[in-house]
């Protein structure tokens, strides 16, 4: 009893501390921009009095940029949504375990009541009259939708309705969610419906082998409901392509599906007279055509296949990136790309892994998997350059990437899996990770020194941050070489310190990208440690539900504190 209460207390303190940390930095970051806000108001006044022309005004305003508020909300949404999804997964696992100790009617009543309460509460928090926790409201609506799915799953399980009726299960779930999507305009539920429609397609395939058009029709309906939102259209189209790849065993059918989807998207844009979006629909169509060509080349003349394939992968990855750069928009196209990239990566990597573990796969595939990985990183760099290009694009992007490069191997080493695997296959794994660390350290050292010169930065380099990074990496090396028994603790603490340091670094250097990376890293760190410590200790459904509650709790603390800060800021400004 005592230990139970103590554990709850520790969890609550943890939620509060972890939730408060980002809030503090959000606040500090915003405070820094108060000066910019005042300056922008002054320029506005000068423009209104016609003391300066619009061109001068724009130039002056660009010297005093304001922080991007939208991204901050998006990050909070991610924490909420991940938390809600974890709770949903936990609830589904609970029903799937078919636990007989609890009466069926009680399980049903519990799931139904919880789903209704989550939906009603979510709607309440989303309402204008209660603006304190709008993001929580959205996530509760999503949670209610997931729990409602649990109710349907339970009934299908309880009544022993055949597995061949799974398409009906998902179909009823989708229909139940349509009013939330259309009427309550819930964005996360829209994406949930897209995912469910994908699963619906897979289940339909088992039952209605020749009726793929049902899934196509559903997607077309979703296209209309997306109301011209490029991101939504992109995800719908992306899932359709993924469906084509994952569900159809034969390449010809997969490509046909891809071509059909692309053609429809193109037609959709033409019918809606959205000339600017034609390029988004055309690129996948061209890529699909190119893929078909390669397929036939592969079929008739194998020696030309490999290099054509390489050209295809390059085109598939680089052409859309160029278009994104040209149109200054990442919406939609990225989603197209993600679907294609995931397919390519999975396709090569699965074969590559098979070859790696001594299977019959072709060994060259394995190297192409790395090629795909590198191309993916290039994509990430480009996207970040575009998103955070307002200020020091070179410096912020490269600092972001070097931190990412540095953290990935440390993250891998920090897991039980990482060190155990390293031990099992000799020290090759650790050796490789060490080399990546060395490489990252060189880049970390090199970039902040060289890039400021290239980008004509006026500010001096923050040597203290660099020195601290070196210290952390050195500690990892030392522990791996001479203090192996305790290396796992050293690695974890070093990683945590580096992540926390990134908040200070981003604050000092005005680099929001680094701040968001740090937040995501902190989230992943918490999830990984949670996974390491409790996976074997807890029942799987409890594990996911507790993890989800923990994340939603952290997000509530962040949202509440930010609300208070905003209020106090407003009061201060008014006074």
């Amino acid at each position: 009893m005592f230990y139970g209460l103590l554990a709850i207390l520790v969890v609550l303190v943890l939620i509060f501390v972890i939730g408060s940390l980002p809030t503090y930095f959000f606040f500090q970051h915003r405070q820094k921009f108060n000066h910019s806000a005042i300056m922008q108001m002054e320029f506005q006044a000068l423009l209104e009095k016609e003391k300066i022309d619009i061109e001068t005004y724009q130039k002056l305003v660009s010297l005093y940029p304001l922080p991007a508020k939208r991204n901050a909300v998006t990050l909070l949404q991610i924490v909420y949504i991940v938390g809600s999804i974890l709770i949903g997964i936990g609830a589904i696992l609970f029903i799937a375990s078919n636990w007989q100790q609890m009466a069926g009617w009680f399980k049903l009543a519990l799931a139904a009541v919880l789903s209704f309460v989550a939906l009603l509460l979510g709607d309440y928090f989303k309402q204008k009259r209660s603006r304190k926790l709008p993001v929580l409201g959205e996530s509760l609506v999503l949670l209610g939708s997931l729990l409602w799915g649990v109710v349907i799953i339970f009934l299908f399980q309880h009544y022993q309705w055949s597995v061949s009726y799974n398409w009906l299960l998902v179909g009823i779930w989708i229909i139940s969610l349509l009013p939330i999507m259309i009427w309550m305009k819930s964005e996360p539920v829209f994406y949930l419906i897209i995912i469910l429609s994908f699963i619906f397609g897979i289940f339909c395939q088992n039952l209605l082998a020749e009726h793929y058009w049902i899934y196509l029709l559903l997607s077309i309906a979703l296209f209309f409901l997306a109301k011209g939102n490029r991101v939504k259209e992109g995800i719908i189209a992306g899932t359709q392509i993924a469906f084509g790849f994952t569900c159809l065993e034969h390449v010809t059918e997969a490509v046909t599906f891809w071509l059909l989807t692309s053609l429809f998207h193109l037609l959709f844009c033409i019918l809606r007279k959205r000339k600017e979006d034609l390029i988004y629909a055309l690129v996948p169509l061209i890529l699909a055509g190119f893929f078909t060509l390669i397929y036939f080349l592969d079929y008739y003349q194998e020696k030309h296949w490999m290099w054509m394939h390489t050209v295809f992968v390059l085109l598939a990855l680089l052409v859309p990136i160029y278009l994104v750069y040209l149109h200054k928009s990442i919406a939609g196209l990225i989603m197209w790309l993600t679907a294609g990239y995931l397919f390519l990566w999975g396709y090569f990597f699965s074969r590559g892994l098979e070859a790696y573990w001594g299977g019959s796969g072709h060994s060259t595939y394995f190297y192409e998997a790395h090629f795909g990985y590198i191309a993916g990183i290039i994509l990430l760099v480009m996207v970040f350059m575009l998103v955070f290009q307002k200020k020091n694009p070179f410096y912020s992007t490269w600092l972001f990437m070097t931190q990412l490069f540095l953290w990935i191997p440390v993250f891998l080493l920090s897991t039980k899996w990482g060190t155990e695997w390293g031990g099992a296959v000799g020290d090759k794994y650790l050796e490789r990770m060490n080399w990546i660390l060395v490489l990252a350290l060189i880049v970390v050292t090199f970039i902040p020194v060289v890039i400021p010169i290239l980008s004509n930065r006026e500010k001096k380099l923050k040597w203290s941050y660099l020195a601290f990074t070196w210290f952390c990496v050195a500690a990892i090396f030392v522990s791996l070489l001479w203090w192996r028994d305790y290396s796992i603790f050293v690695i974890n603490f070093a990683l945590l310190f580096m992540i926390i340091q990134s908040f200070f670094w981003s604050y000092e250097e005005d680099l929001p990208a680094l701040f968001y990376l740090g937040m995501v890293a902190l989230l992943v760190f918490i999830l990984l440690r949670y996974f390491d410590l409790f996976w074997s200790m807890m029942n799987r459904s409890v594990f996911f539900i507790v993890g989800g509650v923990l994340l939603v709790g952290i997000a509530v603390v962040i949202e509440r504190q930010r609300h208070h800060l905003d209020r106090s800021e407003e009061k201060h400004e008014n006074s």
């Binding site: 589904i92 029903i95 799937a96 375990s97 078919n98 636990w99 007989q100 139904a112 789903s115 209704f116 939906l119 009603l120 979510g122 709607d123 309440y124 309402q127 609506v141 409602w148 109710v151 349907i152 799953i153 009934l155 299908f156 399980q157 009544y159 022993q160 309705w161 055949s162 597995v163 061949s164 009726y165 799974n166 299960l169 009823i172 229909i175 139940s176 009013p179 939330i180 009427w183 309550m184 699963i199 039952l207 082998a209």
Partner: protein, 169 residues
């Protein structure tokens, strides 16, 4: 007072729930229960967890059990007429016309056409079990494992229970 949208949605959900209850209730109201002999295997469903797949002697089409020619306009539906074999019901013969109410029959589907060995499904092929208990069913093969199915007058069936607990006792 304006009723919030979420209340309407909850009401809509309750209607769906009631519909599902009603559908099941309608299936249970008429018809009868019979015991049939299965052969189980043990997979896992994405949503509903562990289940066992049952196959029956009437799950595979055999031309030898057909007393009539396959009609040219065959529409995937085939009826399995069962006969009582003391402990359970076994296949007597297949037919394409709906049998009279006096005989015990199941309505089956053959999506891939009819040929010797073609699979026929009756929606009684899966049975959801508590997690990790699937092996009990595997062990029960050959120990007179029986499945109780409810059959309505149209020959539509669903599983009610098995005799697994009686076997282990």
């Amino acid at each position: 007072m304006k009723i919030p949208k979420s209340i309407w949605i909850v009401l809509f959900w309750i209607v769906i729930l009631a519909g599902m209850f009603g559908f099941q209730n309608q299936k249970t109201r008429s018809g009868y229960d019979i015991w049939v002999k299965p052969v189980p295997v043990d997979p896992r469903d994405l949503f509903r967890g562990d289940y066992v797949i049952f196959s029956y002697d009437f799950s595979t089409f055999r031309k030898s059990t057909l007393n009539e020619p396959i009609p040219e306009d065959f529409q995937k539906t085939v009826y399995a007429i069962l006969k009582n074999d003391e402990t359970s019901y076994l296949l007597d013969k297949f037919t394409f016309t709906k049998p009279s109410k006096e005989s015990v029959f199941l309505k089956g589907f053959s999506p891939g056409g009819l040929y010797d060995g073609a699979p026929i499904t009756y929606n009684i092929e899966s049975f959801f079990v508590p997690e990790g208990t699937g092996t009990k069913f595997e062990q029960a093969i050959g120990e007179n494992l029986l499945v109780k199915i409810h059959v309505n007058p149209n020959g539509e069936a669903f599983i009610k229970e098995t005799n697994i607990n009686n076997l282990s006792e």
